[in-house]
């Protein structure tokens, strides 16, 4: 176990958590507001298309998730599945990239 790496991961997890706490509060409030009367593409895209504020918000949200989710999954894989070592970290790095790529595709999907 590399102490420096563990400390960095711990720090990245708390920093991303703090960012996500704000993002999730906004996301929950938006959902509770927007779901009323059902959702339509016109309604969602009307809010997000060409809106730089939402673009910045969702980009921040997605990137924080791409950092937070793989680090959070790391001890779960270690403690519940006994999966540790370089293969676990490689898989989690891949997960971070997949979440960032799919997430940014979604962000661009509702912005453009």
């Amino acid at each position: 176990m590399n102490a420096r790496r563990e400390t960095l991961l711990w720090l990245a997890q708390r920093a991303s958590a703090a960012v996500l706490a704000l993002c999730v509060v906004v996301h929950l409030a938006t959902m509770i507001y927007a779901i009323q009367g059902g959702l339509s593409a016109a309604e969602i895209l009307g809010r997000t298309r060409g809106n730089v504020g939402w673009l910045a918000f969702y980009t921040t949200f997605v990137l924080a998730i791409a950092v937070h989710a793989p680090i959070g999954l790391r001890p779960v894989l270690g403690e519940w599945l006994g999966w540790r070592g370089a293969s676990r970290d490689a898989a989690l790095s891949a997960l971070a990239l997949v979440l960032a790529a799919l997430g940014m595709r979604a962000v661009l999907g509702v912005f453009t």
């Binding site: 958590a17 706490a21 509060v25 996301h27 009367g37 059902g38 339509s40 999954l73 979604a106 999907g109």
Partner: protein, 110 residues
Amino acid sequence: MRGHTGYWAFIVHRVSGVLLVLFLPGHFIALGSALEGAAEFDAFLEWTRMPAVKFAEWGIVVLLAAHLAGGLRVLALEFLPWRDWQKTLAALAAAVSLAVGLAFALALVR
């Protein structure tokens, strides 16, 4: 520590986190369908009107609220000095999740 309030808070936080990670790729792919045009996106939204999907959607919102509240609890425990408040924090986390769950359920059926 099993059976302790802190243990249950830990389990809820971990399980909700894992379920959210499993949900996210599908969520992103669905939103990405907007790239293929509003009609494609509307076809997906039509699917979300099924009662079972609405119920699952409500469940994932509650999980998100629970993970948020549980995460704030962890941050408070680690960064703030008042550790006697552990059980109060867990109760607060549960209350926040419940409140969000009720608000979303009400909005969903409106």
